[in-house]
Symmetry: C2
Subunit: 346 residues, 2 copies
DNA sequence: CTGAAAGCGCTTACAG
DNA sequence: CTGAAAGCGCTTACAG
């Protein structure tokens, strides 16, 4: 039953040429072959339904055409999980990375990693041509990962420059500024911010800066603004809600740094009988595809997550292939999309 | 800068043994080596920080320890996307597959595929040891894919048996039966079902059967029940809502076959000023992690998606490794979780 | 332009 | 128990 595998040898024999020539034809080293030879080879390939063995090619070229997408292994309720499962942001971005990589001739290996060592090991043992790293990690993680000699692209990182790593990010500060401006323009003055733990999140430090600029620019004392730091997840958003309800009945608007947190926040506010946006206006960040469908629909800062994924592959592969023009870090645009969770202050 | 790669040769030399012996030690062919030899080898491995080159190993063993997760390439608004991005069901299941595979020593390659040929090509060229196929496809797709000689596990398939392929599924019929029973127990008699296009979805044919059983058992004429067929997505759910609003003001409860559709349905009903559950009760299917946080929280049929992913890897790898005891198709349990979208009929 | 040969880093009979 | 050698299916100088 198991048919013998068709190799280049078979193709070579069938076409009446050498294995080296088949290789040259298939690798489009056209200056090394004549058209007649190429035709013979291609027709043999079709006839025999030959498929290149990427494993052999990888071993011999030292290049796998495989890129790794690494993301943090997380635990909730003691169950191992992944950021993939927790936050649709990652599904959307991976979707873009995969599509674009495939178009460029690369396959995707995904893995959740608990340490830099795991990332390094996988990269080495699978001979990955490059890796994209999703999620936030501590400084020491990056120090280790950066010893890898393959191209790396980080996403939303703020400390890549020192190592010459490429990053695909957005203007977090400006996005937060716009969000806060929007709240301000609606007449709100008692505005809170719901954010990730700032000490651990450079991204959110940027967003907080944007928040401060807008607030300060309006002549409001930033010290009067409530800052609530919680985990970036639905549960984190729920907690933001509790803390808001508990002591701060005077807050009329909140900028919350992730749509996923906004979902949790809305849930808590609803539980406590608060109406959004009548009692409190909310603006999120990300514009996850679901945000258009919450009730009420979430006003948020939009970033084009899928396109971000596409750019990640383009840059990473650009660098892998030595195309340095394509290999600079990029900052993608943000904009606010106004839906139903923000409203003029009463 | 680029350090020379450490290979088995280096380890062998350092340990003062042959490459074959290193290989035997590392592959735990313990009956072929003495403890003393093993110790020498392991300490050389540590000393040199040797990492097995999986590419070489794959080529030589014909086994990659790589498994493929394939899912459909979809398009929305002419943009290429993936089911990953559209439906959290897939993120959750992939999360489980990845975790379990990793624990068992396998890595994961993901790819969106537009045809059976792509699946076959990837499997061949990457020498995948086995594949998990997510999503629904036409008969002809399966006919082609089943020519592959590696183990395959399908998810929620109803036509795998003829080919001896393993499947991980749930009791769709029973789940739907329970859902409908729940609605019935609340006094509803005019119950609709929102489903995928039945002709294309064996899974939903099963669910429809469960719906029919419950309805019929109650003495209600199934012909009086509204059946609305739409795509499984938020947009599909929105359309279910439109169609429900348009002509069927007498329906007081609906069973909708996917939580993701329920989200869209709730959105439409809200837009038209219908209150859930006061005006209409909704029960979904899946229990996506977000379903606990919709407003109101969604009553639904729970399946443990993450665990399903874990089982998929276990079965697939079990079969890859020839452990046939572990290799039967399994049907995982379902249960209804009552939250806030269903209510006693007024 | 084409081919013979060595090499990529492993594994696996086979001899000893 | 250990090692020399062939082989997995490619690519890549090198000769011709």
């Amino acid at each position: 039953m198991a048919m013998a595998k068709i190799t280049m040898r078979d193709v070579a024999k069938y076409a009446g040429v050498s294995v080296a020539t088949v290789s040259n034809v298939l690798n489009h080293n056209d200056h090394k072959t004549t058209e007649a030879t190429r035709n013979k080879v291609f027709s043999a390939v079709n006839k025999l339904n030959y498929k290149m063995d990427m494993t052999a090619r990888t071993l011999s070229k030292g290049k796998s055409n495989l890129i790794g997408i690494f993301m943090p292994q997380v635990y909730e309720n003691n169950m191992p999980g992944t950021i993939l499962k927790e936050n649709p942001y990652y599904s959307e971005i991976i979707s873009g990375i995969e599509y674009s990589a495939r178009m460029l001739g690369y396959d995707i290996l995904i893995a959740c990693i608990g340490s830099a060592e795991q990332a390094i090991e996988l990269t080495d043992k699978r001979m990955l041509d490059g890796i994209a790293i999703l999620g936030g990690y501590e400084e020491v993680f990056w120090d280790k990962v950066y010893t890898l000699e393959v191209p790396i692209v980080t996403i939303d990182s703020y400390n890549h420059e020192r190592k010459g790593v490429i990053n695909v990010g957005i203007d977090d500060e400006f996005g937060a500024y716009l969000a806060t401006k929007h709240l301000l323009s609606l007449g709100h003055t008692n505005i809170a911010i719901g954010t990730a733990i700032l000490d651990y999140s450079p991204v959110n430090q940027q967003r907080y800066k944007g928040f401060i600029s807008a607030i300060t620019q309006e002549g409001i004392d930033i010290k009067d603004c409530l800052v609530i730091e919680e985990e970036v997840s639905i549960k984190g958003g729920i907690n933001v809600g509790y803390r808001l309800i508990k002591d701060h009945k005077d807050v009329t608007a909140i900028f919350i740094v992730a749509d996923i947190m906004a979902y949790g926040l809305m849930k808590t506010l609803h539980q406590f009988g608060k109406n959004v946006p009548d009692d409190i206006s909310i603006i999120g960040f990300d514009d996850l595809s679901f945000s258009n469908y919450t009730i009420p629909a979430l006003t948020t800062v939009r970033q084009d997550i899928y396109t971000k994924g596409i750019e990640i592959s383009k840059l990473l592969i650009g660098r892998i292939e030595g195309n340095m023009e394509l290999s600079d870090s990029i900052v993608m645009p943000v904009s606010v999309v106004i839906r139903e969770t923000t409203k003029q202050k009463k």
